[in-house]
């Protein structure tokens, strides 16, 4: 880890540097425009200062985004509609429900596929095909239709998250439940273990490393589903709504702060699963 610290820091620094430089170039046109209208002459210094502090820049500088995040998380009350924490919570709750449903469905399907040959042959190809369908494109319809039936709020968003997150779990769990080799299965048979016992004592523990790897992917996918699910509801609440509202009114700083917040959320959730994974595998003696 420490061997990688310096290179990673260098790359991150380079990204920030590029970001600032890009901000100058992208925002320069507007700055020049403003200057000619007011009859000022821009020196390099005033140009740079202006491009880094515009109200609706094409690309806000990192410190502007940072200030906006600080303003909307720490200085606003959590109950306020302008608080980013409130919007993050809306998205997070849909993500978590969708993730839980998707994981449950994924594990159930995987158990069915491993234990039932008919299901393996008929369902598995469709599970794979279901992911080549761009479900996110259908998201607005699912939301609108469920709204029409009277289901609104968290559940429609959670359904989209569920659809996106069940796939990695199915694939990972099928692989994991099949990972015990013939020798281990034979050993269970010599102990006269029933199918249930083999499942709880051998197959399930063996699948844990696979499960956690797919849970990480599922969590990231679930967050994307929740964000996109918020787009068609008319931008009421949530990080997706902040993105959409920001793009309607040209509030680029708001878009970027929502984006950074979403990224932080994704990183935190994935890190959390990574932590649980390490703890679990350590206690099981696998790590």
């Amino acid at each position: 880890m420490s061997r990688n610290t310096l290179p990673v820091l260098t790359v991150v620094l380079a990204i920030f540097l590029l970001w600032y430089i890009a901000a100058i170039f992208l925002n320069a046109a507007w700055a020049h425009d403003k200057a000619t209208r007011s009859g000022e002459v821009l020196t390099t210094q005033t140009l740079v200062a202006d491009t880094w502090s515009q109200e609706k820049p094409k690309l806000p500088a990192p410190h502007q985004v940072g200030a906006e995040i600080w303003k909307t998380t720490v200085e606003k009350k959590i109950t306020s509609k302008r608080s980013l924490i409130y919007h993050s919570w809306v998205t997070l709750s849909a993500t978590l429900i969708g993730f839980a449903l998707g994981t449950g469905l994924g594990i159930a399907l995987a158990v069915g596929i491993v234990y039932n040959r008919t299901m393996d042959m008929s369902v598995m190809p469709w599970v794979i095909a279901s992911q080549t369908i761009p479900i996110l494109a259908i998201a607005p319809m699912i939301i609108v239709v469920l709204n029409a039936v009277g289901i609104s709020g968290l559940l429609p968003k959670a359904m989209i998250s569920m659809y996106l997150s069940f796939f990695p779990v199915v694939v990972g769990m099928v692989k994991g439940l099949r990972s015990p080799d013939a020798m281990q299965l034979d050993q269970m048979r010599t102990w006269n273990a029933s199918a249930t016992q083999t499942f709880w004592r051998l197959r399930l523990p063996c699948s844990m490393p696979f499960l956690f790897t797919s849970l990480k992917i599922a969590m990231a996918a679930s967050l994307v589903g929740a964000i996109v699910g918020e787009l068609p509801t008319g931008a009421v609440a949530g990080l997706g709504a902040r993105l959409l509202a920001g793009s309607y009114y040209g509030q680029t700083i708001q878009i970027w702060s929502a984006l950074i917040m979403a990224a932080a959320l994704a990183a935190a959730l994935v890190a959390l699963i990574g932590f649980v994974q390490r703890m679990t595998l350590k206690r099981m003696g696998m790590a």
Partner: protein, 280 residues
């Protein structure tokens, strides 16, 4: 009532046939027929349930209605297909994957870059990159260029991470062998490391193929000219023309599967030597 019986009958028949087929030894034919019967059964159940419960077409149109609509509006569907898939998704896919490939070779050359960029790339690949869509639409305008840009951003990091991983896959022994042949950097790259990286590269290409379509369609929700699959879906939902929405979804599903299938087919031809491609 009749239709509900029909749905139930279709389910029972489909499952029975599949159970019988699955009990037979697995061949190429049963491997293809069983999922096909399963799919047809699902469509039959859908048709039966929609008609049986008399579900309004505004909520869920029956498959027969969708098929009729599909046949009636091929002109619109074709226009949207060209706008979204050919101009948006495909342009972005090719340039995004190409750029990622070139950057990966560059990154691989310098160990410092590899150790710095790989963790960052892995991190970015897990982020909701689709959120960049409104920003890119603002920068590149409403037409297909902004959709292609979204696709580029979405496919870049998965492709980069996979290619870099693949380039590191050849063993020290193999590289030593190349050195004993007095092979230079480029020869080693072309003759040993790129071929060895192919399974990883195709894994990246497959992930990117589904991402590309999603990116191009979702980006249209943030603004588009009056054509394109994402535009048609969001406006038709507003007009409650759900049969047209479903027709677009059928197109998206067909395109997505075909796209993935073509990449998988090329993979089979290029990496025929890899254990995962061997069949008995």
């Amino acid at each position: 009532m009749m239709w509900l019986v029909f749905a139930f009958g279709a389910w029972a028949l489909g499952w029975w046939v599949n159970a019988r087929l699955a009990a037979l030894p697995r061949t190429r034919v049963t491997g293809l027929v069983v999922p096909l019967i399963f799919g047809l059964t699902l469509i039959a159940i859908w048709e039966g349930v929609v008609r049986g419960f008399d579900i309004s077409a505004v909520l869920l149109p029956a498959p027969s209605m969708i098929a009729a609509r599909f046949a009636a509006s091929t002109a619109i569907l074709w226009e949207d297909f060209v706008q979204t898939v050919i101009k948006g998704a495909l342009t972005g896919y090719v340039s995004g994957c190409g750029a990622a490939f070139l950057v990966a070779i560059l990154v691989d050359r310098f160990d410092f870059l590899r150790r710095g960029l790989l963790p960052v790339g892995n991190f970015v690949a897990a982020l909701p990159v689709i959120g960049m869509a409104p920003i890119l639409v603002m920068w590149f305008g409403f037409d297909w260029q902004s959709k292609a840009a979204v696709v580029v951003v979405m496919v870049f990091f998965p492709m980069l991470v996979n290619t870099v991983q693949g380039l590191a896959d050849s063993s020290a022994m193999q590289r030593d062998l190349m050195r004993t042949y007095a092979a230079g950097y480029w020869t080693t790259l072309l003759k040993l490391r790129l071929p060895a990286a192919m399974p990883f590269i195709f894994n990246g290409l497959k992930i990117a193929s589904t991402l590309a379509l999603i990116g191009a369609i979702v980006a249209e929700f943030f603004g588009s000219p009056i054509r394109g699959m994402g535009f048609r879906i969001s406006t038709s939902v507003g007009q409650l023309a759900l049969d047209l929405v479903w027709a677009e979804i059928v197109v998206a599903a067909l395109v997505g599967s075909a796209f993935y299938g073509i990449v998988a087919l090329i993979e089979r031809m290029v990496t025929f030597w890899h254990p995962s491609q061997r069949h008995l």
